[in-house]
Symmetry: C2
Subunit: 197 residues, 2 copies
DNA sequence: TTTCAAAACTAACACTTATTAGTTTTTTTA
DNA sequence: TAAAAAAACTAATAAGTGTTAGTTTTGAAA
C-alpha cells in the first residue's frame, strides 16, 4: 500500500504519534481506530506495530510528554526571583504558548487522559494534582503578601487553568483572533481579577 | 434478568438516560456500550430498545435538553432591565447552578457533543455559536457604556465560558470546596476582571 | 550482487459493537 | 379471568476492534 514517510523532524514513531494526535483530537481516542490512523498515514494497520507497542502507548506518550513540559516549566518559575503575581503571569503566558505550539497534544492530554491505563492513569492524575497544588501555593504566598486579592487559591487555580484550556475552542472558531491579542486580553482579565487593589 | 424500576420522577426512558449520563461522563460516550448501560440498570441490552431509538438518541436528548435550558435563560436575561455587567453576573451564576444541579448532563453536553450525528451535530454547534455571539453582544454594550473594561468581547466570552466549564473538575476533586464559596470567588475573579476601574 | 534486517504486507483471531428478529413473560385492560 | 399490550428475554447479524503470525518486499551494508 505505501510506506511511512518521515519528515525532517523525527522517527517514524513520531510520524505515527503526530497523525494519531490529529485524529484523537478530532474524533476522540476511543472513536479513532488503528485502521483510521494507518489510513491517514497511507499504510496498513498492522504495519504500525513495527514502530509502536500499542494504541494506548501512543496516548501515554502524548500525555506524558505534555505533562513533563508543564512540570519542567513550573519548576523553573518556582526557582526564579520574581513576585508571585509575575510568576502567575509567566505561567499563564506559557500555557497560552503551549496551546498555540502544541495544540493537538495539549488538547488530548486535557480531554483524553482518562483512557490511560494503569499504572499511567494514576501517575498522570498525581502529576496533575501536584501541578495544581504548587500553583495554589504560589497564589497563597501572593495573598499573604497582600499582592494578590484574597480569593480561595484552589478556586483561582481551577478558574485559571480551565480558562486557559478553553483557548482550545478558539483555534477552529470562525472568528480569527490574533494570538497576541488573545494573550494580552487573557492576561488583562485574569491578572486584573487577581490583583489586590 | 430484571426490569427497569422507575423512580418517582419520570418514565423508563428517563431512567435509561440518567444511568447513561453517569456512564458517559465517567467513561466517555464511545467507550460506553449499550451492554454497560443495560447492566447498570439490571436488564439485557436489547430490552433498552423498547424505550429508546438508539444510543445516539440518548446523547442527543442530553445535549439538546441542556442547550435549551441555557438558551431559555439567556433569552430571559436579554429581556430583563439590568446593567450589562449585572446581566453577565446573572449568566455566570446560572452556569454555576447548572454545573451543580445538572452536573453529568452539562459535562456531557460540553465534552461529548462531537459524537452527535447529523443533522443534530450542525444544529447543536449552531446553537453554541449563537449563544456565544449573544453573550459577546452583551459584553460589547457594556464596553460601549464604559461599564466594562475594554477587552475583546469574544476573548472574554471564551474565557468566561471555559472558566465556568472547568468547575466540572471541582466536583470530584479531593478538596471539598463549598458551592457558595466557589460561586462567590468565581464572581469576584471574573467580574472584577471585567469591571472598568 | 549477495546478505540481512527493517518494515511493509495479507490473513486471521478472538472479542466487542449497536441493533434486529422472533419469542416468552409480565402487566394492564376489558 | 380472558385478551391485549408492553416489556422483557434469547439468539443472531454484520460490522468493527486491537493485535498477532507468518510472509513478502524493500533498502542498505557487505
Amino acid at each position: 500500500m505505501g510506506k511511512i514517510i518521515i519528515g525532517k523532524n523525527g522517527s517514524k514513531k513520531e510520524v505515527i504519534t503526530r497523525k494519531a494526535s490529529s485524529l484523537f483530537r478530532k474524533k476522540g481516542f476511543t472513536a479513532t481506530s488503528m485502521r483510521d490512523i494507518a489510513e491517514a498515514i497511507g499504510v496498513e494497520a498492522p504495519s504500525l506495530y513495527n514502530h509502536i507497542e500499542s494504541k494506548n502507548e501512543i496516548l501515554k506518550d502524548i500525555c506524558f510528554r505534555i505533562a513533563k513540559m508543564f512540570t519542567d516549566h513550573l519548576r523553573e518559575v518556582e526557582l526564579c526571583r520574581k513576585s508571585n503575581l509575575e510568576k502567575i503571569e509567566n505561567i499563564i503566558r506559557f500555557h497560552i504558548s503551549m496551546m498555540i505550539d502544541e495544540f493537538e497534544s495539549v488538547y488530548i492530554s486535557d480531554h483524553e487522559w482518562k483512557h490511560l491505563r494503569e499504572p499511567f492513569l494514576t501517575d498522570f492524575t498525581n502529576q496533575r494534582r501536584n501541578y495544581r497544588s504548587r500553583l495554589a501555593a504560589i497564589l497563597q504566598k501572593g495573598i499573604d503578601n497582600k499582592q494578590i486579592n484574597a480569593v480561595n487559591p484552589y478556586v483561582a487555580v481551577l478558574i485559571i487553568l480551565s480558562a486557559l484550556s478553553g483557548i482550545e475552542g478558539w483555534q477552529k472558531s470562525g472568528k480569527k483572533i490574533d494570538a497576541k491579542l488573545l494573550e494580552e486580553n487573557m492576561i488583562k482579565l485574569l491578572i486584573e481579577g487577581l490583583r489586590n487593589k
